[in-house]
């Protein structure tokens, strides 16, 4: 009886673990060569072409792709550092801290610009700005806001129209949301004023960009703030109804990053995957790219790309994070 209970518990927890993945997919399952396990926060649909082109070139290699949230990517890797070979995430701060803490392997053979590399371990391969995405229908007859200030004014002007119809990341759950929020707060006080306005309108909080764009298309929300414009752009069927606005006052651009884990057993295959990823995606040489390529350094300066530097660890400090979340909750959760 006791054994049975234990067995059931084990099975249940295994199922639970399995269910926790947003998505899993194995590419080139028939291959007998190296097996690469990629843990990622990027939706399978957006990342699949990169893996497909890789297994086309390396038909021996089998690739398993696990998708979960940015915060979960960080948590799982810290729990089981040897369960994955490659880590891909949009939360630059969490990625940099993982590398700083020694979870990454240095790849001396990879050539990549200095500003898009950290410790020859962490490699940036996209540049994706945080955008305001609106449902055009909600702004019919009204000017479309181009800056945060104009968005604040638009929301204040028609509070009834936007009540319960604004959305943004739940920074407590989402690593990327937290990164955008903290970088936003560094840049200007406008962020806190906007959050206050959104909080008063009964803001809806989301875990992921994809969900926000879903709700925008259905009209459940009219405005999403700090969402990844790239996700909206990747869905051409909704482009007509949605407008992606890059705030012209101070746009914040995130770079999606990848690294090979220190504990990997497939170092050379993992390194060649990173090389492939950078060659096809980073500078837009590949075909059918669904993610925006890395911009040149000049453009990166212009777009206020978050730099890869140890300062990214500042807001991950427990005391600092506690303080920031307290302020955020005070502003957003109003009754």
């Amino acid at each position: 009886m006791r054994i049975l209970t234990t067995l059931v518990l084990i099975l249940w927890s295994a199922c639970a673990t399995a269910q926790e993945w947003e998505d899993t997919q194995v590419f080139n399952d028939a291959a007998t060569g190296p097996f690469l396990r990629i843990i990622s926060s990027t939706d399978t649909a957006l990342f699949a072409p990169l893996i497909t082109s890789f297994v086309d070139e390396n038909p021996n290699t089998r690739v398993a792709y696990f998708v979960t949230s940015t915060a979960d990517v960080d948590r799982r890797l810290r729990d089981t550092p040897d369960a994955f070979d490659i880590v891909v995430s949009s939360a630059m701060d969490l990625q940099l801290k993982l590398v700083n803490d020694g979870f990454a392997r240095q790849l001396p053979g990879i050539e990549h610009p200095d500003w898009a590399t950290w410790r020859q371990s962490l490699f940036a391969f996209t540049a994706e700005p945080a955008a305001i995405v609106i449902n055009r229908a909600a702004f019919a007859g009204a000017p479309i806001p181009a800056t945060r200030q104009e968005l604040i004014e638009a929301l204040r002007d028609r509070p009834t129209a936007f009540r319960d119809k604004v959305g943004t990341y739940d920074v407590r759950q989402s690593g990327l949301g937290y990164l955008f929020a903290t970088q936003d707060s560094r840049a200007s006080d406008t962020y806190w004023r906007l959050m206050e306005v959104m909080g008063r309108l009964g803001v809806r909080l989301y875990c992921c960009s994809g969900d926000m764009i879903d709700d925008l298309t259905t009209g459940k929300i009219a405005v999403a703030y700090n969402v990844l414009g790239s996700y909206a752009a990747a869905r051409p069927e909704v482009n007509d109804s949605l407008a992606v606005i890059l705030p012209s006052d101070f746009p914040i651009t995130m770079m999606r990053t990848a690294f090979v884990t220190a504990a990997t057993a497939e170092a050379s295959a993992a390194e060649s995957f990173i090389a492939h990823l950078l060659a096809t995606q980073a500078f837009g040489q590949g075909e059918n790219l669904l993610l925006p390529p890395l911009t040149s350094e000049d453009a990166a300066e212009d777009r206020a790309t978050i730099p890869l530097e140890p300062a990214l660890m500042t807001f991950l400090d427990a005391l600092k994070r506690r303080r920031f979340l307290a302020a955020w909750e005070d502003t957003m959760i109003q009754n």
Binding site: D101, G102, R119, P310, A311, T314, L319, K320, R323
Partner: protein, 458 residues
């Protein structure tokens, strides 16, 4: 006469070079290590001051709010720790020794005395780090609390900088060494140049020039030149003494012999008894032989002396030979011989006129001595291929097995029994030829008679 080679022990130039270059190498090494250790110090100070600034910024952000410690770490605190090598950063915040946030495997090491910032080098997660420890006391409403921060950074960028500096320091050292090497080469060649100049001016002197050196020389060489000058002074004195001695000896020997001979001749005229006359004739012959021998000995001594100090002047060999023939014709007439000059009209040659005259006179003397009466002695002067003077007679010629040894000093041919001579004639001719770089060649003419050629090639 060959100058004896001096015994050589080591080289002044080598010794100078080794001292200078060895010194330069030691200095270059010292320079390299000094620059590197200074760079290590500076780099460490640089990293320490950035770490100190960062930890100060963090401590400044600490405050007690509602009885709870809050540390709002400024973004710049970590941003300033960015390095070109993307060094890793570790930190830990403690409150009165209790861990608050950061890396709990990074221990806080209290400075001595307490409250003073302390630096240390250590190891965190397998990486070499430089760590700063600093603390700050916060005073709340009803308590005091101490915030302690340990901040560590890896040293990749620093070691890269140090590698670069070490490389540059090495280049600097090598450059310094090369430059000093060139300088010491130059310095030693300048020093040696002075010695070489003195050597050249000694070598270039004419054979008679024994005057003291007048050219200015460096102070260190003055004693050497002074010794040289005094040596040459003594040499000059002793040379003029021997020249005087030769002239004096010739005079002292020849004059009494001539006097004795003239007395003997006079006595011979007065003596009537045949046996006495015969004795007087023998006496005259003996006197002649002595006189000739003395003359040849003095000639030979003079030639030996002059050959060491050959004085060359351009002269015409043909004219020289004709002049000699003119002077020797009376002697030849006494023996019913005729002297004939043949060959080229004009044979210029740079040589010592006195020596060549001496040699040719001895050669003609010899021919006159051995030639039979009523024959001709032919002297041929040729310019090509090399200047040569050939004396031929119609006498008995040389014994073929004696040709090789004949020119030795005091050697006379076995067939010269009844001729006067000391045997030095051919030796003198041979010495003169050698002094001019040529040689004396003896042979017999196919039709009979001796043939002596004086080759004067130089």
């Amino acid at each position: 006469m060959m100058a004896a080679s001096p015994t050589v022990s080591g080289s002044l130039r080598d010794r100078l070079m080794i001292t200078l270059i060895g010194g330069a190498a030691v200095l270059a090494l010292l320079l390299f290590f000094a620059v590197r250790s200074y760079a290590v110090q500076v780099a460490q100070q640089g990293q320490d001051s950035i770490l100190a600034a960062s930890v100060t910024a963090m401590l400044d952000a600490a405050a007690i709010r509602d009885g709870e410690v809050e540390i709002d770490i400024p973004y710049a605190a970590f941003s300033m720790l960015s390095t070109p090598s993307d060094d890793r950063v570790f930190y830990a915040i403690y409150q009165d020794g209790a861990f608050l946030s950061g890396y709990n495997d990074l221990a806080y090491e209290a400075g001595k005395p307490l409250g003073v910032r302390s630096f240390q080098s250590g190891d965190v997660r397998g990486a070499a780090v430089r760590q700063v420890n600093a603390s700050r006391t916060l005073i709340g409403a009803n308590r005091r609390t101490e915030i302690q921060i340990a901040l560590a950074q890896t040293q990749d960028a620093q070691s890269q900088t140090l590698d670069r500096i070490a490389r540059n320091a090495a280049f600097l050292g090598v450059g310094f060494f090369a430059l000093t090497g060139l300088l010491s080469l130059w310095a030693s060649s300048v020093t040696m140049g002075q010695l070489n100049r003195l050597t050249t001016s000694v070598t270039r002197r004419g054979p008679q020039d024994l005057s003291p050196f007048q050219k200015p020389v460096p102070q260190e060489m003055a004693p050497l030149v002074q010794s040289l000058n005094s040596l040459m002074g003594r040499l000059d004195q002793s040379l003029s003494q021997s020249e005087d001695f030769i002239a004096e000896a010739a005079h002292r020997v020849r004059t009494p012999l001539a006097t004795v001979r003239s007395y003997a001749e006079a006595t011979l005229q007065r003596v009537k008894r045949e046996e006495n006359r015969e004795a007087m004739r023998s006496m005259v012959r003996a006197i002649d032989e002595s006189s000739r021998a003395a003359g040849q000995l003095l000639d030979h001594a003079m030639i030996t002396f002059r050959a060491d100090h050959l004085e060359r002047e351009t002269l015409d060999l043909r004219a020289l030979v004709e002049d000699l023939v003119l002077r020797l014709t009376p002697i030849a007439d006494m023996r019913d011989l005729s002297l004939a000059v043949a060959g080229d009209a004009d044979v210029p040659f740079a040589g010592d006129a006195i020596l060549i005259q001496n040699a040719v006179r001895n050669m003609i003397d010899n021919a006159i001595k051995y030639a039979p009466p009523d024959s001709t002695v032919t002297i041929t002067v040729n310019a090509a291929p090399k200047p040569v003077i050939v004396v031929e007679d119609e006498g008995p010629g040389f014994n073929t097995d004696e040709i090789a040894t004949l020119a030795g000093r005091f050697q006379r041919g076995s067939n010269a029994a009844d001729s006067i001579g000391s045997g030095l004639g051919l030796t003198i001719a041979q010495d003169v030829a050698t002094a001019h770089g040529g040689h004396l060649h003896l042979s017999n003419r196919p039709e009979g008679g001796a043939c002596v050629s004086l080759q004067l090639s130089s």
